[in-house]
């Protein structure tokens, strides 16, 4: 069981009957104090059912989940870990009958249908089509899926910040400072958002923004709902409140004084999710309703060198003079330049191997980049595997469209349903055969495709026995038999076709995982298939409940929409703790949202502007659509520059606070795409190097 400091135990004791606002930098032991609080509550006999842990993002609840699992039972109850969105969904489901009639929904009698990101995008795309045809958004030069996400983002911001969605465009326009021609794009986005909201009201569809709005406007003000929550949860731990939104802060401002005790944790110098609506300034308001305010300033573990690294980097990023640097600085801060990107990856792997050979556990090493592409992940995985080191990686959401297994499954679905008219290509079939028939290489798969694929016929596949014997021999008799088995299954299936998800589940169990077929021991394929089926099932079940667009064939609709890139079949990866025996790779911001430290961090591709610059979002603006933006003020290049600078400083400080022993910075002359990057992080590092290292040491920089 975890050991706690005297200070943490004291805080825990106090929070039994008081509410405490606990602030401090990362790694000063605030979350550990919350764990001590849980232990104390348990020892005091408080039932887990009366405790709620509120976190802004699921990943931030893992540390609590693990701790609670180790504690076992919690005085007969179960501690609930919630997010704003989770809370909203639970409450809407339960209390819909009493609030529905107050809402603008056209059919309050009907239960609501929750939309996820995919289904929201799907409906919004349908709403957008007539507007696209009229030439809307031509001036922003963006792919339609990115337009959709930004319109949804605007609606979400209006709910999270708490302003009427009808004001989105006015707010954005009032801050716009460049060519006036762009302003009509904001009006177009507003028009589509209005139309989408109207559509949701007509059909009882609840996208994320409506879920939040209903919680704020109707549920929390309802006495029954409020009492339900306040009576159930007498103790609250609210961790990383600075990463949460102003709207949930509003609720907590009322709720906290009604609790028996609680701990509100505020991480100073954070607010990494501002682009998602996080509002650290708003979070500070919670101080005023807590009985005590306490600040932890000392790092929980001694890390003098890393403090120096943090200070020096901060000075360099702020354009300040770098003062004397202690001799041990170089032990915690090293850099490596390589001419080319692949070589940089090799260097990272070699350095990681050196650390592991010296007894550092792989899980104590994190490799961080501004973005993690599949190509980057693959290269690092390849290089580390040469040294026998495993890699665990995390991207907050991943698209199933990018998985070859998805293409294979959808190719078979198209072949099984020729009436859809979605003819696969020669390449699609070759890939499907390679991935389906065990032991079939691409060359023989190509041959097989050439002899059995006839896209002009009613059913596109031929029997293998109609193929010349010598060709069958080249393909091999065993594979020919398996192909025939597959074909016969498809022909039999054609007699009673079913919905796409059911087809895939049957095909998976009855063919793909049978002896001689390649999914048999392929657990990755099983996982992707499972997630794809879930995605389609969710789509179909929503369609069964409501079919506002009168879609006749939902399976066909799913495939065409997915292939058009409108829905990405995004799935949230599970936030399980990374395995102990693997080095961890993730985008830098994702790592910050895991609330954990490692001994060593590698920052790669530090020349990339991705460390500094926010994503181009011409239809939205997270800093303008915020409570902290003064209406009428203009967003200038200066604001943009200052915000990027501040974000980079915060990011670097946040990462270093989660690093105990050493930082390795890697960069290359040419980036992944062959360009030359010289972003602000690299420039700051160069400044440090000029001051601390000899000419010989920095000759390549």
């Amino acid at each position: 069981m975890k050991q706690f400091s005297e200070m943490q135990e004291n805080i825990a004791e106090h929070a039994i009957a008081e509410t405490i606002f606990l602030s401090g930098n990362a790694a000063t032991g605030k979350t550990t104090a919350a764990l001590a609080y849980l232990k104390t509550l348990r020892a005091t006999g408080v039932s887990g059912n009366s405790i709620m842990i509120l976190v802004p993002q699921r990943s931030l609840g893992i540390v609590y989940q693990d701790f609670l699992a180790k504690l076992g039972d919690f005085n007969g109850g179960i501690v609930q870990i919630n997010t704003q969105s989770g809370l909203a969904q639970r409450m809407i489901r339960l209390f819909w009958p009493i609030i529905a009639y107050q809402t603008p929904f056209a059919n309050p009698r009907l239960s609501p249908l929750f939309l996820n990101l995919e289904t929201s995008q799907y409906y919004l795309d349908k709403i957008c089509q007539p507007f696209f045809e009229k030439g809307y958004f031509e001036s922003v030069h963006l792919e339609p899926p990115r337009i959709l996400t930004q319109i949804l983002d605007n609606l979400n911001k209006s709910a999270l910040v708490g302003f009427p969605y009808q004001e989105i465009s006015e707010r954005l326009k009032s801050a716009w400072n460049l060519a006036p021609g762009h302003m009509h794009a904001y009006d177009e986005a507003q028009e589509v958002a209005d139309e989408f909201r109207h559509f949701c009201y007509q059909h009882n569809l609840l996208d994320f923004s409506l879920q939040i709005e209903i919680l704020q406007k109707y549920l929390w003000p309802s006495l029954l709902c409020k009492q339900h929550l306040q009576n159930q949860f007498r103790y609250i731990i609210y961790d990383n409140c600075e990463e949460d939104t102003a709207s949930i802060h509003d609720i907590m401002l009322e709720w906290l004084p009604k609790t028996s005790g609680g701990l509100v944790i505020f991480d100073e110098d954070a607010g990494f999710r501002t682009f998602l609506g996080a509002d650290p300034i708003s979070a500070q308001r919670l101080k005023s309703v807590c009985n005590f305010v306490h600040t932890l300033s000392e790092p929980f573990l001694p890390r003098e060198n890393m403090e120096t690294v943090s200070n020096v980097l901060n000075a360099a990023l702020s354009g300040e003079r770098i003062n004397h640097i202690s001799g041990t600085f170089k032990h915690s801060f090293s850099h490596q330049y390589d001419d080319f990107y692949p070589k940089m990856i090799e260097s990272v792997a070699e350095k990681v191997n050196e650390l592991v050979s010296n007894g550092i556990k792989p899980a104590e090493i994190a490799i961080l980049a501004p973005y993690v592409s599949d190509a980057l992940r693959f290269q690092i995985q390849q290089q580390l595997s040469k040294h026998g080191i495993e890699l665990a990686f995390h991207r907050p959401s991943r698209s199933l469209r990018e998985e070859p297994v998805t293409h294979v499954l959808l190719t078979w679905a198209k072949i099984a349903h020729p009436e859809w008219g979605l003819i696969p290509t020669h390449f699609d079939l070759r890939q499907a055969l390679t991935y389906t028939l065990q032991g079939l290489d691409p060359i023989r798969a190509d041959l097989l495709t050439r002899v059995v694929f006839q896209s002009k016929k009613e059913f596109w596949l031929n029997k293998i026995f109609s193929v010349r014997m010598e060709v069958q021999e080249r393909i091999s008799h065993y594979i020919s038999e398996k192909y025939q088995e597959l074909l016969e299954w498809l022909i039999t299936y054609r007699e009673n076709p079913v919905d796409l998800d059911i087809f895939l589940a049957r095909f998976f169990g009855e063919i793909l995982t049978q002896p001689g077929f390649a999914f048999k021991d392929n657990f990755h394929a099983a996982e992707v298939t499972s997630k794809l089926i879930d995605s389609i099932q969710n789509f179909r079940q929503g369609w069964l409940q409501r079919n506002p667009l009168q879609i006749i064939n939902i399976s066909q609709e799913y495939i065409t929409t997915l292939e058009a890139g409108v829905i990405a079949a995004l799935y949230l990866q599970s936030w399980d703790k990374p395995p102990e025996n693997a080095v961890y790779l993730s985008p830098a911001y994702t790592f910050l949202m895991q609330n954990r430290t490692v001994q060593y961090q590698f920052w790669i591709d530090i020349g990339s502007l991705g460390w500094w610059q926010r994503l181009l979002q011409p239809l939205t603006q997270p800093y303008v659509l915020s409570r902290n933006w003064l209406p009428g003020q203009k967003w200038t290049d200066f604001n943009e520059y200052e915000t990027n600078q501040a974000n980079l400083r915060r990011l670097c400080a946040g990462l270093i606070k989660r690093c105990e022993s050493g930082l390795f910075l890697h960069y290359s002359g040419y980036n992944e795409s062959g360009g030359e990057d010289r972003g602000p992080l690299l420039k700051a590092v160069q400044k440090i190097l000029r001051f601390t290292f000899t000419d010989q040491e920095i000759k390549d920089v």
């Binding site: 039932s47 007969g76 989770g86 009958p97 009907l110 919905d499 895939l504 169990g509 099983a526 949230l572």
Partner: protein, 274 residues
């Protein structure tokens, strides 16, 4: 039992273990995704599960203080309406007692953590603790089948253990606990099981032995069931090379729904999805 450090047992998990050790291992220990069909016909099963889910929500709403007239307005399915009309005469009198819908409970047996979600817990003025479980399947299980279910043994046991935290002044004793199954399609035939001190002792021993057995399986291996009929209704049948096609189910497996409740309520934390 060091293997279960991050693992809470539930009636569903143990029921799976009893039916097939290998399924238990694949599903809960290895968490191996295997998206084959469990049983056919899928759409019918799905529809019945959906109705079951809706019924449980309506019951929860009633016991959370929402007026019955408001709840009834949402019902747009004739079967569900019939269930609801069957339910009200049974349920309304219960609201006069202390009642806790969707009550979550945790406990320890042989140092292993357990969890349970009761559809309803009622505490009468006479200090009787009654656990209610709503069953929405078409077919009613026999009394002896119900008695043998892990749920019928585990729920009262956990309540007996945790009772002191629910009513500090008058904690639940095994003799004051009852478990009632109420059937939407057989509203006048509820099955009641009175718990007792003696049964509590028997159950403690039973679960302790079961846990020890599971613990040993980590060394000896988790065996596939010998009852091949069960494989017809298991998603792992192709994994285990025990056939290809899913069996035709005469009745919706109530456990599928129980499993969803456990997963939804305990394991899932909502996520901001943008």
């Amino acid at each position: 039992m060091k293997h279960f450090l991050n693992f809470s047992f539930s009636q569903m998990k143990l029921q799976d273990y009893i039916e097939c050790e290998r399924r238990f291992e694949l599903k809960y220990i290895l968490q191996q995704a295997w998206p084959a069909l469990r049983s056919e016909p899928v759409i019918l099963i799905e529809k019945q599960m959906q109705l079951g889910k809706q019924f449980h929500l309506l019951a929860q709403q009633l016991f959370s203080g929402i007026p019955e007239s408001d709840i009834a307005q949402q019902i747009d399915d004739i079967n569900l309406l019939e269930w609801w009309q069957n339910f009200l005469p049974f349920a309304l009198p219960l609201t006069k007692n202390d009642h806790y819908p969707e009550y979550k409970l945790s406990g320890r047996i042989n140092n292993s953590p357990f969890i349970a979600v009761f559809d309803l817990l009622v505490i009468t003025k006479e200090n009787q603790f009654i656990i209610y479980d709503w069953k929405t399947s078409q077919k009613k299980q026999t009394r002896s089948e119900l008695k043998e279910k892990i749920q019928s043994r585990l729920y009262p046991l956990l309540l007996a253990q945790a009772g002191k935290y629910i009513r500090r002044d008058a904690p639940a004793q095994p003799d004051s606990i009852e478990m009632v199954y109420w059937f939407t399609n057989y509203p006048n035939e509820p099955e009641t099981f009175q718990y007792s001190e003696n049964q509590y002792e028997i159950d403690i021993e039973y679960f302790t032995n079961l846990l020890n057995e599971i613990s040993h399986k980590f060394e000896s291996g988790f065996e596939k069931t010998e009852n091949l009929r069960r494989c017809k209704f298991c998603q792992y049948r192709s994994y285990c090379e025990r056939g290809d096609q899913a069996g035709l189910s005469e009745a919706v497996n109530e456990e599928l729904w129980a499993e969803q409740i456990e997963n939804l309520d305990i394991m899932q934390i909502g996520e901001i999805e943008f």
